[in-house]
Symmetry: C3
Subunit: 274 residues, 3 copies
């Protein structure tokens, strides 16, 4: 555990040193927040989604984040094209299966992406990730991140991690991150985070940002998820009395002030190996 936290704090430092370029194919609801979150943590965002350019864009990037928030036929093709190119060049690919379970389009798309692209990290809430197992879970909108079924989440993370040979990050009251062997629990965050749109999307963009500076995607995922949790706590302390608009702004503030010392002081990360 000390080892994991130590590795995370190193990544917090390295991301500002290396300033990796992160390619995001994402949704039009939270895209501005995602770009600003990536900048705030020390990476550089590039948002491009046309199939005539995504292969070139991903080729110059250090990581690719695919976010299914506002899917459409045009961007699905771009996601797969960019993902395949990233695989070819050993560029890490993070998938955020936003709202999977809510429509046949989303269900088919996630299956198509998983069958055609080697995904390095899948980040979602419990209902989204459990859909991938075939387990039933009611997906209700895209903001139902607060589920507290810790035991199930561990089992689901293990299953999906092994099936797709990837890291899985399930965010909720307690976040679960696994590479199939190691299981980290992150207890940072707070309930107000579910009252701002895009927290999940930003978290995935942060995970992608950290994947841009290490080949250890498990640690990158823990870092990204814990960074958002800690920032949410700091923002809550500063802005809860004002309202969710100010809280939203304070999250970006906190991300931009994040550093290794602060991370070390605040993180609530616990690890088990099986």
């Amino acid at each position: 555990m000390n080892h994991l936290i130590n590795d995370c704090t190193n990544l917090i430092y390295e991301i500002r040193e290396k300033n990796p370029l992160i390619h995001n194919i994402t949704n039009y609801v939270t895209v501005n927040d995602c770009a600003n979150a990536v900048l705030a943590i020390g990476a550089s965002p590039i948002m491009a989604d046309d199939n005539a350019e995504v292969e070139e864009i991903v080729s110059m990037s250090s990581a690719l984040v695919i976010n299914m928030g506002t899917l459409n036929q045009r961007t699905i093709a771009s996601m797969i094209m960019a993902g395949k190119k990233a695989n070819e060049l050993n560029i890490p690919v993070v998938l955020d299966p936003v709202g999977v379970g809510a429509s046949t389009l989303r269900n088919k798309t996630v299956q198509e992406i998983l069958s055609q692209v080697k995904i390095d990290v899948i980040r979602g809430n419990l209902s989204e990730i459990s859909f991938l197992t075939g387990f039933k879970a009611s997906t209700r909108g895209v903001d139902t991140a607060m589920v507290d079924e810790k035991n199930d989440a561990v089992g689901i993370a293990k299953l999906i991690s092994n099936r797709y040979s990837c890291v899985v990050g399930i965010t909720g009251k307690v976040d679960i991150i696994s590479d199939g062997i190691r299981f980290a629990k992150v207890a940072n965050g707070n309930k107000l985070l579910s009252k701002v749109t895009g927290i999940g999307c930003m978290t995935s963009a942060l995970v992608g940002s950290f994947c841009g500076v290490t080949k250890d995607y498990y640690t990158a995922t823990v870092s990204g998820i814990a960074t958002m949790g800690i920032s949410g706590e700091i923002a809550f302390e500063k802005a809860e009395a004002m309202g969710t608009g100010s809280f939203h702004v304070s999250i970006i503030d906190a991300l931009s002030n994040m550093n290794s010392t602060l991370f070390l002081e605040r993180c609530k990360i616990d690890e088990t190996k099986y």
Copy 2:
């Protein structure tokens, strides 16, 4: 009137209890604000616009909001498809005819929507709503919400309300809401609201949110419009000295702090029946 205000304050309470899912097919300019406004008032937003999924998404929602802000051929088809499915399932449909009168595309689209979908609430500014009557009105951009022609507005609201058997909400210096029989005037709000983009869009999203918890769409429309007006006043008090960026943030803050007591204290609602 006391009855109306009482019903509005009940809706303010119920929306946080019932947390309805609100499907928005909207524009890419103000979509983030709309999602955050819906969350702030206690509902849950889902923004999906591909014709391959809108029928499924609307089927699990409590209301549908169609916003014409950045129309394109792809989403026009989705709007109509989602609207028809909502009609079939008795899910309320709110239409925000953003910028109608400004282009043939918008004019044709609003007519097509109104001929194919039973709309429950139309919310717009005076120039937009009066276009629907065939009356002439200059539409200049989408931010000209401040028109003070109270008498005309009442007549226009009545005409449109009767023609389409729907509730009409005309926002301006004084807002007019009518179901053809009752006419409510809401005198909340202030001029700075016209200096932030998306106030009209957010108002329509709020109206949709309230329609998600009652079959009385007239009261839902009054509630949504008055909620934005009151929030604008509170935001003005807090942030006017800082500038429109802070004012924008404070509007979301105020929405997230809205409750029945505050609404009752602040609302300036007046009702007439003919």
Copy 3:
């Protein structure tokens, strides 16, 4: 020089008096900020990009801003169509070639636009503008605005300005604006501006806003660029201690508080003629 600054301060005043309508065909990442920046400085934004309506929309506007941030086939056609119509009606056209050099799509698109549309102002960072000369420059994402090669920038501005008979605005540590004969240097701004997405896009939208109230596009470009630089400085003073989320909000605040006196007091504009 006194003459130039004097003309700029007049434009700051006039834009709030005349409230020109500015048509933006732009990207979905920063579109909300662009609309709010245009409103904050005293103009009115209209964001419309479907080829079925852009000719009508541009015809009622005082300027057109074409921003290549998130290019796709659908909007490229709209950009050219709107640009041609603007040329026909003598409406000024501002081009922001976001990310040119980063993909073949962007390179071809900028060439196609420049060959089919008479552009009045090109605004970009040094890597983007130098791509247009055939000079080599590494484009890395869209946030690398901080380049300090003053001498090259002057030569590049002159070359591009003469080749396309347009005003060129190159933003960086020191901004260079030229109409091929006059060269203005603007030394306002600060490094934190590169940590918020959309500063370049907003600057181009401001330049478009000023072009909406004068035929002197050189002065309009200096005004737009200096307005953003000054606003960045004011925002830095207010919000740097908080973080980039608050800094972002404070930029819009500062734009909304901008006036001729403040501009005169703060601007660092220097001019040379050759």
